[in-house]
Amino acid sequence: MKPLQIPMPDLGSPGLKGARKLDPSELNALKFSDKHTVLTPGKLAEQKR
């Protein structure tokens, strides 16, 4: 197994105009769930309703 070499995204590029970095507090606000749900497309669509 060899690690993938993933290029750093260019935040100034036309394809990522709407992108900005998340700061540590924003990263810390994105918490992992203790639920056991498999997030199928149907399950994800339920949240829209």
């Binding site: 993933i6 590029s13 990522l16 992108a19 998340l22 992992f32 769930s33 639920k35 749900t37 498999v38």
Partner: protein
């Protein structure tokens, strides 16, 4: 923390091609002080993987990112593995799913987490963990081989193969044992993709819903999954080692049948959820009843002989033993 953690880091590292072992990875994830992307970033540093969190105001800009990466939805994280054409492929608890880019843009809140493994990225002390994992696998394989060998030896030398109903009784007790084992693991929140797949047959997450109710245990003293594990293991060993005890095993089976009706009633009317594993156990108990009936072992049940009470005592002894051991295993796991 047994929910997302059981899959996400291991699956993410797997998608990134970073050598790791599931046990160590899960333990490190569960020991994270910050159970968030911030904590994950710190943990990934230990693996030689740097990271970056982005907010995309235009979700369709995920096409400019190189998978794999994490995408956040209000229901949890997805591991996006491909963004070809107008389809987005992702992993969720180890299951591969696909949705359209349009649907993805609606469910993702714009927060994504990218990872950049260094060429030498790997789990700390990967070599020794991998060796330990290998030894664990060898032990498990040896255990299965020895169990199978003993099973075949008893099956043949005890003459069980001569009676079709006895063969069915043995097979059904094996099935019941496997189902009960999966139920015990589920109640201990030990991840099993196979058990998740089986549980999804009647109703997705039905097993979890039913196992979380108070009725999943006998007044909080014994869980029904422990009772099932006891029942099927003792029944199987009794038939294999002492074929003459099958009449007492058959009598005990009859005593279990009212429980099956209560279990189905409870799932339908109280829990309003179907636990596939539980329903399968009830079906197994009824199939066993018909096997014992077909073998003529229910004819001479009465009057109850001392052997019946000895068998009941063995059931009780094993149940009490399991009831002590299983919580210890749960504590060790934590």
């Amino acid at each position: 923390m047994d929910g997302e953690s059981n899959f996400i880091l291991s699956d993410f590292l797997g998608a990134l091609g970073v050598p790791h072992t599931p046990d160590y990875t899960t333990r490190r994830f569960e020991a994270m002080p910050f159970k968030s992307l911030f904590g994950l970033g710190k943990l990934l540093d230990e693996y030689g993987v740097s990271s970056l969190g982005l907010f995309l105001s235009d979700r369709s800009e995920i096409k400019a990112l190189t998978p794999p990466f994490l995408a956040h939805t209000p229901q949890g994280f997805l591991i996006v593995t491909s963004t070809d054409g107008d389809k987005v492929s992702y992993l969720t608890r180890g299951v591969a799913e696909t949705m359209s880019l349009r649907e993805f843009c609606e469910v993702c809140d714009g927060n994504v987490f990218l990872a950049f493994p260094s060429p030498s990225a790997a789990e700390p002390d990967y070599a020794s963990h991998a060796r330990f994992q290998l030894f664990g696998k060898v032990k498990r394989i040896l255990f299965v081989i020895l169990a199978a060998a003993l099973f075949v030896w008893l099956f043949v030398t005890q003459g069980i193969w001569r009676s079709v109903p006895a063969i069915f009784a043995v097979i059904l007790n094996c099935c019941g044992l496997a189902l009960s084992f999966m139920l015990v693991r589920k109640s201990l929140r030990i991840k099993s993709r196979f058990a998740d797949k089986v549980c999804g047959v009647l109703q997705k997450e039905g097993c979890d819903t039913v196992l979380e109710t108070g009725a999943s245990s006998f007044f909080g003293i014994f869980s029904w999954s422990e009772v099932g594990l006891t029942y099927f293991s003792v029944s199987l060993l009794s038939i294999l080692m002492f074929p003459g005890s099958i009449i007492y095993v058959a009598a005990c089976n009859v005593c279990c049948l009212p429980f099956t009706l209560w279990s189905i009633w409870y799932q339908k009317f109280r829990a309003k959820a179907w636990c596939t594993l539980c329903v399968s156990v009830q079906c197994t108990l009824w199939l066993l009843f018909f096997s014992y009936l077909a073998g003529g072992w229910l004819k001479d049940v009465f009057p109850l002989k001392p052997g019946f009470f000895v068998l009941v005592a063995v059931y009780g002894f094993v149940l009490l033993g399991l009831n002590r051991i299983i919580p210890m295993m749960n504590k060790l796991k934590r």
